[in-house]
């Protein structure tokens, strides 16, 4: 773990609408809003359900399991702070509860990632204040 001042990668500017997500991540829980009106989860967190536009939402923990919907292997970094990580995998995970989320897949062999692969969340405490929910391949 780095301390907050020495972690050089982009850190989310957490706001009141997103704080419950990042707080849950620090506690190693993946949490997102679920709509009481239509029953659907959504991500990233919003004030109104993007499916039915109800404001009757509650934060709920999800399983942290899903599958790879798509991915890319970055061969060039998104700026110098990611240069040491190349090649690395950015993936869109379709969570079992429905929503898709962007994340990293942590694997020793980036070449083996495929769409449809089953994945499970893991929590990276990158600073004392920030935990990033990343994913691993169940086949790894």
């Amino acid at each position: 773990m780095s301390d907050t001042a020495t972690y050089e990668k982009p850190q989310p500017v957490i706001d009141p609408g997103t704080k419950p997500f990042w707080d849950a991540a620090r506690a190693h829980r993946l949490s997102m809003p679920k709509c009481r009106a239509c029953g659907q989860h959504h991500f990233y967190p919003r004030e109104l359900c993007p499916h039915c536009h109800s404001d009757d939402l509650e934060w709920t923990d999800v399983s942290g399991k899903g599958e790879v919907y798509s991915y890319t292997i970055a061969r060039k970094p998104a700026g110098p702070v990611f240069a040491a990580d190349v090649p690395y995998v950015i993936a869109m995970i379709a969570l079992d509860e429905g929503p898709r989320m962007l994340t990293n897949i942590v694997t020793k062999d980036v070449e083996q990632v495929r769409i449809g692969d089953r994945v499970t969340v893991r929590f990276d405490d990158v600073t004392p204040e920030l935990t990033l929910p990343k994913f691993t391949l169940d086949k790894d």
Partner: protein
């Protein structure tokens, strides 16, 4: 008689090796493009009473109110302004908005302007969006922007439809052939499918030659009424139909990564308004930020079915002499790509419709479709133009 809005002038600034010839600030290059378009229309600057601007310049600062700043710089007092910014497709939307304003009598002469000096200033970065609000869920993962989102769309398209990297390469090769006919194009040397396949990997499955250039550039469009065009002796290009839509900006919120929903929505409306079928389109100019953008756009516009884009572009079908002339100035892939490219699609379509495209002129162009894409496959705007 009802007022009909028409395009009467287009202009741009000369480029050499992707940089504006003679240099200049982002305001200077926009003023030059505006003057070129007004001279082309035969209409003086003082007649401009509508100003439509979108850009990435001067933020924070004067670019926060871009039409107000540019109006001041040009010495005009517009009574209609539109700074709609939906990404690189903004200018196709501007044509629609200007047409409605002109036909309603809200303005008489509309000037649409874009400029960028990003290459001269070396200001383009891949990771530079601040991780605030929606983007706190994107940048932390190190996604190269915007190529990473397009790469994930390409990967999903390949998964669902069997599209290949070689098929994407066909687009880059054909577009380069068009660029070789355009003296202003930044990249004019021929390339092969093997060259594309062997080019530097950027964000799998996209490689360097799948990606648009990073250049300077400036362009402008002048619109007025058909009646005013006649009075100035300028040749009108008619606007038969238009439409626009946007669906997301965060790639995580794109409704379907293998389908360009915004282009489907925008083009359906444009075709309905124009009352023409796909067979009536002689020429297509569509945004080519990446090769996958083109492939998904052709499907969404309805020139082929979803999933058939790879086969559609194979055999150099979109190259000079091919059955489907596309991006005839060399596109964002090989001509220029100054950040928001959409205005150059319009400039090229008008030149083709007027028979003024030089060595790259396509025979018998009467109707052209222009489609811009902005953001990360986020927005789409379609304009159908005709010279009769």
């Amino acid at each position: 008689m009802a007022r009909e809005a028409v395009i009467v002038g287009v202009g741009d600034v000369p480029l050499k090796d992707g940089k504006v010839v003679g240099g200049g600030s982002v305001l200077q290059v926009q003023a030059r493009a505006a003057k070129a378009a007004l001279d082309n229309a035969g209409i003086p600057m003082r007649d401009v009473d509508g100003l439509l601007v979108a850009g990435l310049w001067g933020v924070p600062g004067p670019g926060q109110l871009p039409s107000v700043t540019l109006g001041e710089y040009l010495g005009i007092f517009p009574r209609f302004a539109d700074t709609t910014n939906i990404g690189g497709s903004a200018f196709e939307a501007h044509v629609a908005h200007a047409a409605m304003a002109i036909e309603k009598g809200y303005c008489d002469v509309a000037l649409i302007v874009y400029g960028s000096t990003q290459k001269s200033e070396r200001s383009r970065t891949l990771g530079g969006r601040p991780p605030v609000l929606t983007m706190q869920f994107e940048n932390v993962w190190g996604i190269p922007q915007p190529v990473g989102g397009y790469a994930m769309a390409a990967r999903r398209h390949m998964h669902e439809f069997g599209t290949t990297e070689e098929q994407l390469a066909e687009i880059a090769v054909a577009t380069r052939k068009w660029a070789s006919l355009n003296p202003d194009a930044t990249m004019r040397d021929p390339i092969s499918i093997d060259d594309v396949m062997a080019s530097t990997r950027i964000s799998d499955p996209l490689k360097l030659l799948d990606c648009c250039l990073v250049t300077d550039g400036a362009g402008a469009i002048v619109m007025t009424t058909a009646e005013n065009a006649k009075a100035h002796g300028s040749r009108p290009i008619h606007i038969r139909g238009y439409g626009e839509a946007h669906t997301h900006w965060s790639i995580g919120a794109m409704p379907d990564l293998a389908r360009l929903t915004a282009a489907e929505m925008a083009s359906k409306r444009a075709f309905d308004m124009a009352g023409v079928s796909h067979d009536a389109i002689d020429l297509v100019e569509c945004y080519d930020s990446f090769t996958i953008t083109v492939l998904m756009t052709l499907e969404a516009l309805g020139f082929c079915k979803p999933g058939e884009g790879g086969a559609f572009v194979s055999g150099q079908r979109t190259a000079p002499g091919g059955a489907f002339p596309l991006n005839t100035n060399g596109g964002g892939l090989s001509y220029c790509h100054p950040g928001m490219y959409g205005i150059f699609l319009l400039v090229e379509a008008v030149r083709q419709l007027r028979g003024e495209a030089g060595d790259r002129q396509v025979d018998n162009v009467q109707t052209a479709l222009v489609h811009g894409t902005g953001g990360t496959l986020s927005s789409g705007a379609t304009v159908i133009l005709a010279n009769n």
